[in-house]
Symmetry: C2
Subunit: 458 residues, 2 copies
């Protein structure tokens, strides 16, 4: 009876659900760019409104040292477990903006996809949760379990404020399980639950050479060139075979289970092919002695994201810059602690730096990796929900990205963390033309509603 | 008599000379940025006005495929030699603009210096020539020799148009000597004439990896990262000891004279100390087996000027870019032809590129190096002028920068090329806070007037 009503309610309101998502997406809540502070605030308030309208209590914006958190709770199901639901309302920057086929902050529906920065990461997925909660409340007047919602605005900027909050007030977040809706499935036909994530350290390596910018004619041949130093450092950190040369970094990787190892090796779902297709390349880079799935899920990597300094405009300028920086991150499988990795990284960078320049390693942010057990009740409740809506049992896989809050919930709150998301590999996260599948959006709402029902003891 | 009148005229008009320079400097004629095309035109017309007011004939803007040339002639001294005078009215971009202490295009006098983009390179030095010509005309009603003036607007952008013009119409530029006022002296007390310049090739090395920007969480470990390829290429082109690994590049360097070798080795003027001071460093980089002066004047160098792509804003973005580029130039001592150097460079870059990425080497511009004989009459006339105004015979040195037009005049027009400029090493060419010494500006005017007088047979 409830199932039919739920289905009817969701079907009837799909259009409005999409409209409400679009309204949220139009707010350019880029957390790393200070000029968007006002948008961050508006996006937070938009989420509070969603919670208030559903009848959540304590729905509020919580000020932090950085961008605000959004919190709301519904705790009127005595005897039932409490689920802590996490999402984030901030988004990545949009450059290179010229590669977007439609304006980055004007949602555009093309085929089954909704294109907009944040469509998938993570406003779309957070809206899935909101609408599942709304539907359950609407048809039954209550939720099947107790729910706390905690949404941050700094996920793309290091997530320091939510970490400080969780560490300071764990009792306010008391729960039996956490649920993070910020991941993807291998395809629309292949539901998945995430059992592991890599941690991260994001750094800026700054090299200072001469006291001022120099003309390469007058000084080229005797001047320190910070870009050359950075090239030496970058090639010294990772070789052409993908091996990282940071002593100690590989030491503490938590061993994978035999099941996982076999999955990585055998690749029964032909995920390698999908990866190659998504990247548009014919071969993988990296450590040839590990299967590609292990390289992205179970091995560390070093990646350069950008180089700052000198002349990057059109045409020619023959400057040797006084200062240049490289934005370099490391992904860290569970077992490698991010603070230890940073120390090893910094030591190695200093060792690689030649004489005659000053090198400074800045830590921008860091977060831990995690591996969660698949046999916990909430994981099984989520798996059952996916089977009910997708007609197929989910696979248990890892993801190579980092959701540091997952490790924090797992380690600090001591609860199982369900990572179930409805993104797809071609969603262009962090890239131009980010999109979210509309069918996944609607199916996600149904699945999350089922998940909460399955969590109920009754 | 004429000397006294000349001195009186120059002294009397110094203030106006400076005002006229400032008027020219306020026009932001950046040749590499398309949005400044209108400024380029205005700066050219400003120069034409200068020539017209002095009574030059044929004073005009000459349209080209690129930015216009400025030409004017005064050929009423039968039996006297003809001097072709070169300058450029275009300037470098101004970034990083936040490091300028005064607005880059608002001239600011502080102490003996005039700060502005183009103050030294090359509007200030070209104005020195204009005002020397004006003074000679004013006090004598004529010039002591015949003069053609040819000024370009693409020196900072490759100078292709003037090269095409000189190649197409050498007869229009018929002369007995060329004079380029675009170099500097080691100090205000040490006049110098330039006998050699390095050539240049300026390139963009473009690396294409995946078909789109990728998230380093989802793909880091198996994705091609163009920045890593660029780092491999850069470290493969030049090692930490400053040795360039481009097979064949060192083969054709024209041998230096014993006099020059001794000067480089002995460094009698303590120029090494000056170089260290100007750079603000304690040690030189580069080929330890060559004296520093040889490294910048007589040896090739490879320098990276900027890296384009990925994320360079504040904070963090974990993108693996689909495409990244490095702006890389080579300086080439006389003997190494720029087109041959480009071919060798391109071959080496391709050899260094790993599998799995596409590498494209773009040539932005190129120009030849040159060594000119010191015993030609015009060189001696310039040397005498410097001795007269500075009270000291000039030294004959090379410069590490590139003025491709010098090689073209020398090789194509077949005339001696006098390179005499009044810049100083700390003029911050191509960098924030470019300046020109006012005392050098005024002394330069007197020196150039003397130079023209000394060129006269009478």
């Amino acid at each position: 009876m409830v199932q039919a009503q739920l289905e009817s309610y969701i079907s009837q309101h799909e259009g409005r659900f999409l409209d409400e998502l679009m309204g949220w997406l139009r707010i350019p809540s880029i957390s790393t760019l200070p000029e968007h502070a006002g948008d961050i605030r508006r996006a937070a308030e938009y989420a509070v409104e969603q919670l208030k309208r559903m009848g959540f209590e304590q729905a509020q914006v919580i000020a932090t040292q950085g961008h605000p958190l959004v919190y709301g709770e519904w705790l009127k199901a005595p005897g039932q477990p409490t689920l802590l639901i996490y999402g984030h309302y901030d988004v990545q920057p949009v450059d290179p903006v010229e590669l977007w086929e439609s304006s980055p902050f004007e949602p555009s529906v093309r085929g089954d996809n909704l294109y907009c920065r944040g469509a998938a990461d993570d406003k779309g997925q957070t809206m899935v949760v909101f609408k599942a909660l709304e539907a359950l409340m609407a048809v039954d007047g209550k939720l099947p379990i107790n729910v706390r919602v905690l949404i941050e605005g700094e996920e793309e900027a290091g997530g320091e404020s939510i970490e400080a909050y969780v560490r300071a007030y764990p009792e306010r977040l008391k729960c039996d399980a956490a649920f993070i809706c910020d991941s993807h499935m291998p395809s629309k036909e292949l539901p998945a639950l995430i059992t592991g994530l890599r941690g991260i350290i994001y750094t800026e390596v700054e090299v200072r050479g001469a006291k001022r910018d120099l003309h390469s004619g007058s000084y080229g041949g005797v001047a320190p060139n910070p870009f050359h130093t950075l090239a030496v450092i970058i090639t010294g950190l990772k070789d052409a075979q993908g091996h990282i040369h940071i002593p100690g970094l590989y030491d503490n990787i938590r061993p994978a289970s035999e099941v996982e190892k076999n999955f990585w090796h055998d690749d029964p779902l032909h995920m390698n092919e999908m990866l190659l297709e998504e990247m548009g390349v014919r071969e993988f880079t990296g450590e040839a002695e590990y299967p590609p799935l292990e390289r992205i899920w179970g091995r560390p990597t070093v990646e350069v994201h950008g180089m700052v300094g000198g002349f990057t405009g059109e045409g020619a300028k023959t400057v040797i810059p006084a200062v240049a920086k490289a934005k370099i991150s490391l992904r860290l499988p569970a077992g490698i602690r991010s603070d230890e990795a940073f120390a090893l990284f910094e030591r190695r960078v200093m060792e690689l730096a030649p004489a005659g320049v000053e090198v400074i390693v800045h830590k921008v942010h860091g977060g831990e990796g995690v591996i969660v057990p698949v046999d916990a009740a909430p994981m099984q409740a989520a798996a059952a929900a996916l089977k009910e809506t997708y007609g197929k049992a989910p696979i248990f896989i890892r993801e190579g990205g980092s959701i540091p809050i997952a490790a924090l919930f797992y380690n600090l709150l001591g609860v199982p963390v369900v990572m179930m998301g409805f993104g797809l590999p071609d969603d262009n996260l962090h890239a131009p033309n980010e999109k979210y599948s509309l069918s996944q959006f609607y199916k996600g709402i149904r699945t999350v509603a089922r998940f909460l029902q399955n969590m109920s003891h009754s």
